[in-house]
């Protein structure tokens, strides 16, 4: 953990005061940033400086700062969550940047994710997709013993691979079509692999895809960009399963 100090870096960041306001880029200088600091800690330092200078700090989403809540969402130097693999913005560390570098920070760009302020975007479209069918319809109570439903280890593992989605939206942000297919696929695929989820698999696939289309996400052209940007490395093989689930559901209509 040898911490090298970056004496000076530049942050070129999108500033937009409200959803309807016109945005623009502003460039700020940040001094004395430890390379052991996280990217968001660097933004904290910048914001502190802005506040003391009487300026409005940069609004950004963040919460757990350990890569699991999915709240943080910055598009940094052409990468959703920045230039590192399998990380969220909060897990990105300053050792990925060098002295004097200009770092371009943008919000997720998608029609379905309008900017709220600066680099904070509205991802409620994801909520609506989940609400459309991202569940197994069971009420609390009256369920069988956990071991009554046997699930092979491989199936459980594959379901878990998909279930690891944190709903951050990096897939949408990085996809050139702003497609939400990986996000939807993660949920559909998780349930399709489990006997509990199979019961209403057809209904779920149709409802979630219909909602996704309605909300203005683009369609998938299989570039695979999403899987590279995904902090949890969710495979696009799950998209194939979603396609399969959806097509077979539609065929049996």
């Amino acid at each position: 953990m040898a911490d090298i100090i970056l004496n000076k870096i530049y942050v070129k960041v999108w500033r937009q005061n409200s959803p309807k306001a016109k945005g623009r880029f502003e460039t700020y200088q940040v001094e004395n940033v430890s390379q052991g600091s996280s990217f968001l800690e660097m933004i904290d330092i910048l914001n502190d400086k802005l506040i003391l200078e009487g300026k409005d700090p940069i609004a950004f989403d963040h919460d757990c700062r350990e890569g699991i809540c999915g709240m943080c969402s910055m598009y940094i130097n052409g990468h959703a969550h920045g230039p590192d693999t399998e990380v969220t913005t909060c897990q990105l560390h300053m050792r990925k940047f060098h002295e004097g570098q200009t770092i371009v920070v943008e919000p997720w760009r998608a029609a379905a994710f309008p900017v709220i302020k600066d680099v904070m975007v509205d991802r409620s479209a994801f909520e609506k997709i989940q609400q459309a069918g991202g569940y197994v319809s069971v009420n609390t109570g009256g369920v069988p013993d956990g071991n009554v439903i046997l699930i092979g280890q491989d199936d459980a593992e594959e379901a878990m691979d998909a279930a690891a989605c944190i709903g951050c939206g990096a897939c949408v942000a990085t996809c050139k079509n702003s497609s939400a297919m990986l996000f939807v696929a993660a949920k559909v695929s998780q349930f399709a692999k489990l006997p509990q989820g199979k019961v209403e698999a057809k209904k779920r696939a149709k409802a979630m895809v219909a909602k996704m289309d309605e909300l203005g996400f683009g369609s998938c052209t299989n570039t695979g960009g999403c899987e590279l940007a995904c902090p949890k490395s969710i495979s696009i093989a799950h998209i194939a399963r979603l396609n399969r689930e959806y097509l077979s559901a539609k065929l049996s209509d």
């Binding site: 990468h79 959703a80 052209t221 399963r241 396609n243 959806y246 077979s248 539609k250």
Partner: protein, 226 residues
Amino acid sequence: MSSFMSASIGRKFFMSITGLFLISFLIIHLTLNLFLTFDDSGTLFNLAAHFMATNPFIRIMEPLLSLGFVIHIIWSGWITLENMRARPQKYEYGDQQLSWWAPSKNMFILGSMVLIFLVIHLTNFYLKMKFTGDPLLSSVNIDGTEMHNAYALVSSLFMNKGYGLLYIAGGILVGLHISHGFWSAFQTIGFSNQVWLKRLKAVAVTVGIVFAVGFSYIPIYFMIKF
């Protein structure tokens, strides 16, 4: 059905099916074209061209093929338009996740270029053979059957350096388009998983290379040989 056709996965489904259909056509096309290089007298190729022009099954497939092209082209335009609408504001610092030339990112551009090539290609051959005719197409008699001397038309064109290079470019464009399109089509119809994804991608690149090399080989053969 209408909801399926306008749904994102539905639209993609049509792209996949027509794409795979067009690939199957290209396989036949390439195989027959390679006859050009097996027999410098042109007999083999002329026989093949005659077979294609007269066989009833092929005659039926011809309008279907055109329909495949039309759907593939119109749908791609539709999808691309919708996809552009999904991101009204572009990034300042463009995507660094995939390299700029990745075929997957440029399918519409590659496809459009292939389309331009296709138009030239059709004017060069199909139009002349079918409708306008050409002095080079004077009929030949092979084993008692009168047929067009398609070989003369094709070989003369490929001996022209400009057209030769154009057809090489066309072959490479088609190859690049298919190196993504092939596995992408299987992915879209749901025929893929963790294991097959890797296999299909490898097969797609192979198929792309076969088309690129195969189609380029023919003009190169003529440019070098004659």
